[in-house]
Symmetry: C2
Subunit: 428 residues, 2 copies
Amino acid sequence: MPMSGALLTDHYELTMLEAALGSGAAHRRAVFEVFARHLPHGRRYGVVAGTGRVLDAIEGFRFGAAELDFLRRGRVVDERTLEFLASYRFSGDVHGYGEGECYFPGSPIMVVDGTFAEAVLLETVVLSILNHDSAVASAASRMVRAAGERPIIEMGSRRTHEGAAVAAARAAYLAGFASTSNLMAGSLYGVPTAGTAAHAFTLLHDSEHDAFQAQLDFLGTGTTLLVDTYDVAKAVRTAVELAGPSLGAVRIDSGDLAASAHEVRRLLDGLGATGTRVVVTGDLDEYAIAALGAAPVDGYGVGTSVVTGSGAPTASMVYKLVAREDAAGTLQPVAKQSVGKPSKGGRKTAFRELEDGVAAGELVTTVPGCATPAGTRPLLRPLVRGGVVVGREPLDEARERHLASVAELPKDAHHLSAGDAAIPTVFT
Amino acid sequence: MPMSGALLTDHYELTMLEAALGSGAAHRRAVFEVFARHLPHGRRYGVVAGTGRVLDAIEGFRFGAAELDFLRRGRVVDERTLEFLASYRFSGDVHGYGEGECYFPGSPIMVVDGTFAEAVLLETVVLSILNHDSAVASAASRMVRAAGERPIIEMGSRRTHEGAAVAAARAAYLAGFASTSNLMAGSLYGVPTAGTAAHAFTLLHDSEHDAFQAQLDFLGTGTTLLVDTYDVAKAVRTAVELAGPSLGAVRIDSGDLAASAHEVRRLLDGLGATGTRVVVTGDLDEYAIAALGAAPVDGYGVGTSVVTGSGAPTASMVYKLVAREDAAGTLQPVAKQSVGKPSKGGRKTAFRELEDGVAAGELVTTVPGCATPAGTRPLLRPLVRGGVVVGREPLDEARERHLASVAELPKDAHHLSAGDAAIPTVFT
């Protein structure tokens, strides 16, 4: 039996639902907010990603026969709860930061407003998506800044879960990567895909000469030849000898990439292949990319570090109840009060404060219906209204939004060194 | 149109296939091996996980109409290649370490033997699965050792990609975790699921008293009450007052967990609830678990750190061509030869050397058909024969294999401090 995404959920969401259906509180209106208490260590900004995938998940969140059967057989919840789940549809409202927007500690990245029963069930899948995708996009954005005008190919699929790989390719693209190696990301999300050959292709043939010849014959002279299987200098000479000066690119995947890039550039130029590009890959992260800034490199391929968030594989976002109706039907702010894991009660709205077009602060207010203050732009946009998705957009819009949002940040937001959030979050 | 997993693949696997079909080398017999050049920094051993999922992926690796249509429209490969893909079935052999087995640098974790065309296409999905699942299992195993007899619940779904969460729950379970919060892992893999309530449930009700009462009424007195929403001591008193001494457990999720556990244990005992267990959660990793060893804790819940591999979110495994037929049809060892990224050519077999039942070395040999040397046990088992999966097994077998494999390691394998691999890898 095919499964929907409704079991991508923590057991306790369902037991809470069961007990709340029992107490009657399940039908109280409730507002949950997604936010991060802090950025990963030393990061200056985070990037919201996954919003589009969250909308898909909410729309597809249904308990069908297969799911209900599992829950019944496992005695996860009682019959009353199963009945509720059988007709479950999220019928509330969701607002959120636009996908690609920069965020800061305490930014109310997503606001889910419904009954407790409807909204609590979405916690796990909403967080899974936003935490993963935002972690990747946040790392990717730093790499894109470090690379300047040079394009980066995302090629980390093999270093992360096969499904996460697809989402990672999407997140890296919206943060500014040029393309991905992941074909499913091309198919599902329209991310441009790229790739030519690995060492195995060269080793498969009886000589590097034969391998290059085969690649040129069947993929064309515009292809990228991998030149570090045996001897780099010899490979470059073979490559130009076979392809002529119209060879698209050569790729170096090991050794001292900066030294190799200089050597290969000199060789190529000496052989008249002045238009042949030099692409480097191999355990690159934002620091290695920045360090290669002065090397004659035309493009980067990045794998492990981007799909694992470059040291921060999760964005540490949480989904917290910030307001709910009391017995009298009045919406009341709520928050955990004991030591540790601070949060602020009350439904929030947020604005980015701008001074001469430069971001100066993140204004977060609990004032209901607050108009956009002068000198700010609003950050929350409607995503779901009365259960209907209204915020879906092409991935390229998120990509453009990110470009605009990051361009607006103060200059020190782009320092790779560890530091504080680029702008302060001000709660009012 | 529904998709198979065949596009969970890097673009270059298909362009290599295209060029190799052109050169004719595509049909050469080829042996690829999965291994890790090193363990994550300071780790003493790794744990193979994902094998069962790899078998599912190989079985389901088919290019249907949807996949072919995408590849044609995107001009990823030519018509000859599309034709090959349309009838693609892996018809070769796969051997591999048993799932749950410990591994070391250079261990030939999986050996894929087929034509180049058939075997190269599996690279990305095989590595995605093994790299992710092994990273999680390797971290989980250390946590299980640190926890001793105390059970650990995996509850990190919200901190990782929603699909990765399911695989992570599976991997943590086979490495010794007692249960998971992830319902899909329960449904797909039979991992026991667990969970009761979050702070939101307490905050939803008009008082902690009302929330606890509702939870006890509908989930029974055997439930776990979360006691750190307001004041821990007050919550414990309320809990025992309402549930009596048969209360199953209380959970502490913030603050100084050791101090809190002592305080809560004293309170519970003073109230006569001597059988009520104390469960702690909240940013635990293997070090925090070990540090709580002397605290009166009955169980742990672990989230972020296990699903992100506790600092090592990927196992750094690679899939390398180690042998292939030459033009004369003879299988020849091959290996990349330039500086960096070392690998050893030739198809390998591996044995664990034992001295008085304690692992002493990882013997890796390229001698064809090598008999099991005295004082060792063989590590490779058949997984696929002639394209047919023969190595499928229940998840509990992997769990038992891990228990036996880890018990066999020398004592210093269990040190949490950074160190070298617990046993040396010897190549012969």
